[in-house]
Amino acid sequence: MATKLKSKKKIDQKRERGGMEPKYYEVFARKNSQSDLAHVGSVEAPNDQLAQVRAWYIYDQHKWKEMCVVPLESIITVTEEGKSAKIKMG
């Protein structure tokens, strides 16, 4: 096909995926002003801009009024001090 990329796909894990262990963001969203800002899932992205876009397109089950992403590393645990927050899969 005319538009397929001519070069083979080579992924630089460190740059394009944030490392061998990808970088995760937690996704929060609300349907309207009355709803709570609730956790809807997680996305993997190497930077904030791609996290925003991937979250918007993956979690498109509703026409969200508001959506935000938080880097997992920014979450400060309260009940598990000294440990990192665990993402919720599924």
Partner: protein
């Protein structure tokens, strides 16, 4: 029937129709670019984002075709009946991407240029047109953010940055020519249909593309003067017909399969 805003069946200004078709047809090809290159994305979330951008662009295209069909055109003809010399997509997307960096450059320039032209209709007297322009803006916001995310990653690699710069040097003049000559006529603005002159949109496009340098961390060669080919068509905003290989990708193969 003379055109009246919000009155289906009334005929539109021909130059206005040309602008709308140029946006719609470029987005038709752009949507196909995304569809074809989905599996070149870097991860599953990337596939979702690319497919989302694909369907958004198809949606913009169809909305414009439907608007034109409401004003005297045949929808079936617009969507499925035209040949490679009738589809008015930007020359920017004629050549297949040579690599990931070229893909990011080309899709970014196509998104930005179509949005720039559409933004001139945000205050159109017909709410349908203004609504389409607004929707394009809302969704292109995320498409451009996708490109910006990739600028930063590409900029971290020396080889990748060089590939990006080369791709930009090749694609940017094709994107710029889409706006027409810098001092050319602007009948749509002169008729009061687009409230922003084409020159202002062109300048805004040039200014916006320059902002990529900061995210990329490298200079981009912006060729400001464009040499127009002898067969440049002002109404179609392109020279020559669509390449046969690209037309084979873009055209609808079988009407029954689409249902």
């Amino acid at each position: 029937m003379a055109y009246t805003p919000g009155n289906p069946g009334s005929r539109l200004n021909e130059n206005f129709e040309n602008d709308l078709l140029a946006i719609a047809d470029t987005k038709l090809v752009l949507g196909n670019w995304y569809a074809e290159c989905t599996m070149n994305g870097r991860s599953l979330p990337d596939f979702a984002a690319i497919l989302g951008m694909c369907t958004s662009n198809y949606g913009h295209t169809r909305a414009i075709y439907q608007y034109l069909a409401a004003h005297g055109h045949n929808y079936e003809y617009l969507e499925r009946g035209r040949g490679p010399d009738e589809i008015r997509s930007s020359n920017l997307l004629d050549e297949a991407p040579t690599g990931w960096e070229d893909f990011i450059v080309s899709t970014w320039l196509a998104e930005l240029s179509t949005w720039m032209l559409a933004s001139g209709f945000l205050k159109h007297e017909d709410r349908a047109v203004a609504g389409i322009a607004k929707k394009i803006g809302e969704e292109t916001y995320f498409h451009l953010k996708y490109s910006q995310g990739w600028f930063q990653i590409i900029g971290e690699g020396k080889k990748q940055t060089t590939l990006f710069q080369k791709a930009f040097a090749h694609r940017f003049p094709l994107a710029l020519q889409w706006f027409g000559p810098a001092r050319g006529k602007d009948p749509v603005h002169e008729a009061g249909i687009r409230d922003v002159p084409l020159k202002k949109l062109r300048d805004a496009f040039v200014k916006e593309t320059a902002t990529a340098e900061k995210l990329l961390g490298a200079d981009l060669e912006q060729e400001k003067s464009v040499k127009f080919a002898k067969d440049w068509r002002t109404d179609a905003r392109r020279f020559g017909p669509m390449p046969d290989g690209l037309f084979e990708v873009v055209r609808f193969k079988d009407a029954e399969l689409a249902h």
